[in-house]
């Protein structure tokens, strides 16, 4: 009897449980935890996004697993959770960024973009017959010369961060960031901190082919993704390459 009662509250997305919870939204948060992690670090010189894109088979083309997405010249998004859900939100973000150019002839702000995305996510926590987005995003960019870093979650709440992790191992990574973050980091230091944090759940090691790194730097106001060779160099340089200590 208890079991069937419980089920009734998680069947419909629009139904609160008697203790005021939306089970489907909480389950969507679990879906995010099942994904590999993405980390964002904001520095004075720009924002760093790194993502773990471990593949389930060596035969998968690593480049086809996309977790870092360019949105506009000055904006980028990292995702954790359902890749297909992330793609829908990334496309929304790209359209809203272009809409800002069409409507006002100006670049879309990072905070405004994040709120456009979270308002869209929120609709899926209140609409019957739909399910919430099983994905968390990190939205990074430069706005009026200032670096900004935001997180979106499946409930549709926006948060701004100095440094943050989403996805599997979030708690451990976040703890590492809290212990080691310093707001005077350079962009290069930020990449190092983000990689070290990403490696925490994996005993401080990273597969050089399974990491993505992007930055939005304040000077050029441009989002750019590092080519695989440079990623491998950076991972090795920071002493995080798998098996690196044995060599």
């Amino acid at each position: 009897m208890q079991g069937s009662q419980q089920q009734a509250y998680d069947r419909g997305i629009t139904i609160f449980s008697p203790d005021g919870r939306l089970y489907q939204v909480e389950y969507a948060r679990e879906a995010v935890k099942r994904g590999t992690a993405s980390v964002g670090v904001r520095t004075e010189d720009g924002v760093v996004l790194v993502a773990d894109r471990q593949t389930r088979s060596p035969l998968v083309e690593a480049s086809s697993v996309e977790k870092l997405h360019s949105v506009d010249e000055h904006l980028g998004i990292a995702s954790a959770g359902h890749v297909a859900d992330a793609r829908q939100l990334v496309d929304l973000a790209r359209r809203r960024a272009q809409m800002e150019w069409l409507r006002y002839d100006q670049p879309l702000g990072v905070e405004a973009l994040t709120k456009e995305i979270t308002d869209h996510i929120q609709q899926y926590t209140q609409t019957g017959g739909a399910r919430p987005f099983g994905v968390a995003l990190l939205v990074a960019g430069v706005e009026n010369g200032e670096p900004r870093l935001f997180e979106t979650d499946p409930s549709g709440t926006p948060y701004e961060w100095s440094a943050v992790a989403v996805g599997g191992g979030r708690d451990e990574i976040q703890e590492y960031l809290e212990d080691n973050y310093d707001d005077s980091l350079s962009l290069g230091d930020g990449i190092g901190l983000a990689l070290e944090a990403l490696a925490v759940p994996n005993d401080g090691e990273l597969d050089t082919g399974g990491v993505e790194i992007s930055t939005v730097d304040v000077e050029s106001e441009t989002f750019s993704t590092k080519p695989p060779e440079e990623v491998a160099e950076l991972v090795t340089e920071h002493g995080l390459a798998e098996g690196g200590e044995d060599e």
Partner: protein
């Protein structure tokens, strides 16, 4: 299903980038506008001379006060043809009075909503782009306003034409008296003018147009726009400002 997802139909969750979610229900559609264009003699027009001049202290906008029917009958002698639409910007009414009033109400609402949502006011260039989009794709017709404003980038004057063309300038004139006023301004404008000097120059422009253009006259409205805001005053005679 069209591929152009930036101009979606009503069913999409994307707002139309060129339209306004704030367009009033009584806004004129294309057919209605055409029908009205046929009743030209019945539509109140401003005739008008409106002038915008950037200066060291901000922007001055000056307009005459006459409305006319078909350019041959003075239907109102005390029209305010410059209105504040933004904390530090104003727009002139030139052309159809109804079209201009509706455009002003909509831009005021858009500016307020943008400021409340983003916690920061629209820049003047963004406001000009928005106004141009509305003129081109929206329900507003037959107006040719000047937008003047001050923002972090400095002082700006734009002329906006009925087809949505948006042009930035140091000073500009629109309305039926534009050639007369331009003649007065040409060669007299100096980018280092103070607000008071620019106000006097604008008053001379309105005075020239008042003398010879049948669509302009009955006094002058002056808007002084600075980073602190917009102050609008009117006078019975432009000579009071010389």
């Amino acid at each position: 299903m069209t591929d152009d997802r930036l101009q979606p139909d009503g069913a999409s969750s994307d707002p139309d980038p060129f339209g306004s979610e704030l367009v009033p229900n009584d806004a004129l559609g294309g057919e209605r506008a055409e029908q009205l264009a046929g009743d030209d003699e019945m539509v109140n027009k401003t005739g008008t001379t409106t002038i915008g001049i950037t200066n060291e202290d901000g922007v001055v906008i000056a307009t005459d006060k006459r409305a006319s029917l078909g350019g041959r009958f003075v239907s109102n002698k005390d029209v305010q043809k410059v209105e504040q639409i933004h904390p530090t910007a104003a727009l002139t009414l030139v052309g159809s009075v109804g079209g201009a009033q509706s455009l002003i109400r909509t831009l005021r609402a858009e500016t307020s909503l943008y400021g409340t949502r983003r916690g920061d006011n629209l820049s003047i260039s963004a406001l000009a782009t928005l106004a141009g989009n509305m003129m081109r794709g929206g329900p507003f017709f037959a107006v040719n306003p000047i937008l003047g404003g001050v923002d972090e980038e400095g002082s700006h004057v734009y002329s906006i034409d009925p087809a949505g063309g948006v042009m930035s300038d140091d000073y500009t004139v629109t309305g039926s008296g534009m050639q007369l006023a331009h003649g007065t301004l040409e060669g007299e404008y100096d980018p280092e003018m103070s607000m008071d000097e620019a106000v006097a120059l604008a008053a001379r422009g309105i005075q020239s147009a008042t003398e010879r253009d049948t669509g302009s006259g009955n006094g002058i409205f002056v808007a002084r726009i600075t980073a602190d805001g917009v102050e609008i005053e009117d006078y019975d005679d432009p000579a009071e400002l010389l």
